[in-house]
Point group: C2
Chain length 274, copies 2
C-alpha cells in the first residue's frame, strides 16, 4: 500500500541507516518519496544512489543541502560557490525536485548580519545560472531565528521571498513548519509564495515544549504544538501539491529507536496529525 | 564615580543576592538605576523595597514582570488580569518607569497561536485603564521566536508596535537586543517605535555562539555576536535616552560568579562594547 503525499527526509533516520537501508525501509512502507543528504549520497557513491533512485522510481523532494555562502574572505566565498555548483550537479544527477539551501550565518568574527545577508543574495545570484542550466530549482529554506548567527541569516519566509523576487526564475522556498510556525505574517507570506509559484518543498515535524536542544530536539508530528493541519491547508491553498517531507533531528529520542519504528510512526502521524 | 546610562536588571545577579544586597553592590559601583523582579521585591517586602529605592534616589528602569495573559479557561484569564493589576500597583509604589510585560504563550493544550495573540491584546486592553490611572506605562517585550510556544507569542518589535497602535497611550515596548537582534526589519521598527514615542526600555546582553541553553545561556556584552553599538545608535536616533539595562540569565557562568565581579564586568563591558 503506497503512502501518497509523504516523503521522508533521510536525516530522520540518519543515525540508524545508510542511504540503501533507508530506501528499503521506506519502500517496505509504501513510501516512494525521499530527500537525502549529500553525505548520505556520497557514502554509497553518487552513481549508485542515482541508480537506486531510478530503478525504484523514487521521487526526490529535495537534496540537502547547498548554501553557507557567507565567509570573511573572498576565497572562502569562492569555495562555497564551488561547493554549491557541485551540489547542483548532484541534485541534477539524482533528479531531485530542488536543492535545499541552508544559506549560512555570520562569518567568523563578524557581527554584521546585514553584510551576511548581502553575501547570501550575491552567492545565490552567482550560482543561479548554473542551477538554471542544470534544471535544478534552488530552494531557500528560511531557518528559525535561533539559527541566525550560525546556520542561516534568512529567518522568515518573507525575507526568503524578497530574495526570490530580486533574483527571478529558478529560486524558490522550502517551507519547514519548524522554522516558520511562530511567524505572525506566515499566512500572508505563504499566500504570496503561492502567487509567485515559489513553493518548492514543505517540511514537517513538530515543536516540543519544552525543547531540550536547539538543534536536535525536534518532535514527531503530533507530539508538539505546531498546527500542522492549518499550515498544510495554507500551503495547499497556495497551490503546492507536492509531498509533505518529514525531517526530524532527534538525538535523544527518534535517532535512538529502530528505523522501522520511526518510519511506521511517521506514516501513522502523517495520516492522523498532518 | 557614577555610571551614567547603565541600569542593572537584578535577574543578572539573582542567584547570588537579594534585593538589598544587589542594590548595595550597584551603589558601590556608582550605578543608580536598577530593574528588579517582583519575587525579589516580595522577598523583602514591597514597603521596604520602596523605602530603599526612595532613600537612595534610585531610578527603576522597569519592574519585571506582568503578562502571561493567555489561558484555556476564562477563570485563568481573569486570574492573570488580577495579577497584572497587582503588578501595576507594585510598579506604581516603586516608582518604576514601566511594567515589563512578558505576554505569555500558548495555553496548555492549544496549538492556536492566533487565538493566544488575541488573548494577549485583549488582556492588555483590560488592564490598561488601571495602568493609566496608576501612571504606569506598560512595556510589551517582544520575545525571541524560540519562546513563542511557552513564554511570549509576541515575537517581533513590529508585532508589539501593532498592539501599541491598536491600544493607544499607556502602552509601549521594551526592546531587548537578545530577542530582536536577528530581525531583518529591526531598524525600520525601531524608527517606527521612535515616531510613536513607544520605547520604554532598552535591555542588553549578548547572543553566544553556540548557545547551550535556550533560557539561561545569555552572554555578557562583548562575548557574543550582537552588534550592540549599532542597535544602540538606532535606539538613540529614535529618541530614547534612558539607560541601557543589563539583563543576563546565565546559569552556568555569571550566576556562579561573585556578584561584585559580575557587576564590575557589566560596567567595564558597558563602557567598551555598548
Amino acid at each position: 500500500m503506497s503512502v501518497e503525499g509523504l516523503s521522508i527526509n533521510l536525516a530522520t533516520i540518519r543515525a540508524q541507516c545508510d542511504f540503501t537501508e533507508a530506501v528499503d525501509i521506506c519502500l517496505k512502507r509504501g513510501i516512494t518519496a525521499i530527500a537525502p543528504w549529500r553525505d548520505q549520497v556520497a557514502a554509497i557513491g553518487l552513481g549508485e544512489a542515482a541508480r537506486i533512485v531510478r530503478s525504484n522510481g523514487l521521487t526526490l523532494t529535495g537534496l540537502c543541502r547547498g548554501g553557507f555562502f557567507p565567509a570573511a574572505e573572498a576565497a572562502g566565498r569562492e569555495k562555497a560557490l564551488d561547493d554549491n555548483r557541485r551540489a547542483i550537479d548532484e541534485a541534477a544527477e539524482l533528479g531531485a525536485d530542488c536543492l535545499v539551501l541552508v544559506v549560512g550565518g555570520l562569518p567568523g568574527g563578524s557581527k554584521d548580519i546585514e553584510a551576511a545577508r548581502r553575501m547570501v543574495e550575491e552567492g545565490i545570484a552567482e550560482v543561479l545560472p548554473h542551477a538554471r542550466a542544470a534544471g535544478v530549482p534552488l530552494a531557500i529554506e528560511p531557518l528559525h531565528p535561533m539559527y541566525a548567527a550560525d546556520r542561516a541569516c534568512v529567518n522568515t519566509l518573507g525575507q526568503a521571498l524578497d530574495i526570490c523576487d530580486a533574483l527571478g526564475p529558478g529560486v524558490g522556498v522550502a517551507i519547514d513548519v519548524y522554522h516558520v510556525w511562530w511567524d505572525p505574517d506566515l499566512a500572508n507570506q505563504i499566500a504570496r509564495a503561492g502567487r509567485m509559484k515559489a513553493i518548492l518543498a514543505h517540511h514537517i515535524c513538530d515543536w516540543l515544549v519544552p525543547t531540550g536542544d536547539m538543534l536536535t530536539d525536534r518532535g514527531m508530528m503530533g507530539d508538539g504544538i505546531i498546527d500542522l493541519k492549518r499550515i498544510r491547508r495554507q500551503i495547499e491553498s497556495a497551490g503546492f501539491r507536492g509531498p509533505q517531507e518529514v525531517e526530524i533531528f532527534s538525538a535523544e529520542n527518534w535517532w535512538k529507536r529502530p528505523a522501522e519504528e520511526v518510519i511506521a510512526t511517521c506514516v501513522e502521524r502523517f495520516r492522523s496529525c498532518c
